[in-house]
């Protein structure tokens, strides 16, 4: 049972980290739309505010999910909770 408690604690920590990153790029930066527009950081030449809404945040979400999935798999393995017969 304690193994399960530890597993869940680590899983929860990972969730909080994932949600924190998610919060920054889905909500946090958009408090500063005007500042992003005025910023001198211009990815590929686009205004930063425009770039984040078109590609930036969207791409970060894709990477974030794969990173999250990888970390969660490691946690599951560490405690011997990963599945036997995997579909992959």
């Amino acid at each position: 049972m304690s193994k399960q408690v530890q597993h869940w604690e680590k899983t929860r920590t990972l969730l909080f980290i994932t949600l924190a990153i998610w919060f920054v790029f889905s909500i946090g930066i958009f408090f500063f739309g005007a500042e992003m527009e005025a910023s001198s950081i211009r990815p590929f030449g686009y205004p930063l505010s425009y770039y984040m809404t078109c590609q930036g945040s969207l791409g970060i979400f894709v990477i974030l999910i794969f990173w999250f999935a990888g970390r969660q798999e490691k946690i599951d393995e560490e405690f011997g909770f990963s599945e036997r017969e995997d579909g992959e």
Binding site: F32, E37, G45, A69, F81, G87
Partner: protein, 604 residues
Amino acid sequence: MIKGKFIDNLPKVYGIYTGGFLVFIILMAIAEQAGMTAKTIGICFVSFTVAIYAIIGYLSRTLQVDAYYVAGRQVPTVFNGMATAADWMSGASFVAMAGGIYFKGYGYMALLVGWTGGYVLVASLLAPYLRKFGCYTVPDFVGTRYGGNAARLCAVLVLTVASFTYVTAQINATGTIASVALDIPFGIAVYVGLASILLCSMLGGMRAVTWTQVAQYIVLIIAYLLPVFWISNKMGAGIFPHLMLADEVARIAELEGQFGFVKNSAADLATVPKGLAGITKAHSSVNATPWAFISLAVCMMAGTASLPHVMMRYFTTPSVKSARRSVGWSLFFIFLLYSSAPMLATLSKLSLMDPTLPTGIIGKSIADVQAIDWYQNWNQANLMFISDFNGNGTLELNEFFMGGKAVVLATPEIAGLPYVISGLVAAGGMAAAMSTADGLVLAIANALSHDLYYKIIDPKAETAKRLVVARVLLVIIGFAGATIAALEIQGILGSVIWAFDFAMSGLFFPLVLGVWWKRANGPGAVAGMLLGLASGTAYLIWVRTGGAGFWGITQLTFGIVGSLVSLVAMVVVSLMTAAPDSATQKMVDEVRVPSGKTVLGKQH
């Protein structure tokens, strides 16, 4: 076709399919050169692709419960990602999104951020745990986790309200495209669209929908990306538009400054046909307050995590691990289209606005523009309109009006691409609308047949009878949706956004807390679902009937009110009533680890 063998051969089967589709496009291009009319090409594209989906639907027919409800839980990670992307990207995403960006700019982009960011919530909070649960439908999870028919019934209610709001919009979109491409009246086209949707899902349930959705994704992504790349290259804007349109975005801002946004008088605007809009907002600069942007994004994200037709796609993967990865693949495939929509909007706007381009119309004489072929076509289709308000004989920026759909549908023609591309775009739009409608109709019918009929009304029903009931309900719901769609009550995009708010109001916290808060119990969940849905709906009605609203929450973001009420009600009622019994607590513990058997049996 043997099942095991089919699954092993998926990459080959869909590889051949994709190759075949590309050959078909080339054949159509040759036919166009040989003199085939635009109308015939449109008919060929739509009927050929729909026929393929119907064949896949027929080949995937099944008499097994777990194949019908969850595709036998053997859909590989990447293919499930494609199917989810098609399930997700509706007619609204395909046809209306680029138009929304074109007209509303930054403020509208909140939808893109919301509709992608929601997948982070799906992956981290819900999908793997619901997969481990082993349920057939979302109410199945709610009913088992919280115990009792009341919770199950409430979940069915919220699911039906949200999905039904959404599905009428999708059947409407299939009807619109079918009526344009096949040249039949909208009232009939809606039922043609419905028939194609049912062909895909009726015989094989989730299994058939899965394999047609993969096929539909391939068609829709080719149909979206090919014109974007082609136009960009043709205009000399860049080989890879996504990374190379910065100059074009800057040029639009420059032209906007040059032309200025002149406000039209109300009398002038009254002459513009309904549904058309002019360019009144800056293309790339920040034009919305942080709260307006964030509140809309939050609603779309929480709604994404609560919409049952998306969630049930992750019940079909072979394992918890692959459910998690599958969410990543889904978002990747969605990203391909979403990141292209702003580029299409940019290319479309610049090609119309820039007087130095051969396609530019602003600044030309009104008579010249009225003589252009594509202007006449789209004017006739009620998607374009110009008028010389100031009487100077020249077309100004504020004198040009376009429908939102025209950005996707008309841009290839404006940019001078061959008609075969317009046919392809019609097939893509049809695929997008059909795949979403399929998923939604199936989600509603499955919830009613499995949760309402089998679990509550007749738990002793035999497999054959259950599947008959499921199919009858599918047809009834399809017809109900089509009948309402034929009435054309609301626009496509408005009702899509409402669906997210409804789902968020009633289901977000009951689902999330079901996994993450052991103390959550049945009475709490029932209170959360009912009060959440009721308060969200009440707020919507209040604002729609002239109410002032509060906190800047509009009819597009009423889910914030609903979900907050839902959260408070659920926590308060849960804490006031007895804690869940030890069996339920143990069940939650089991859901939290990927290994071991699913909570519900393979067949239930």
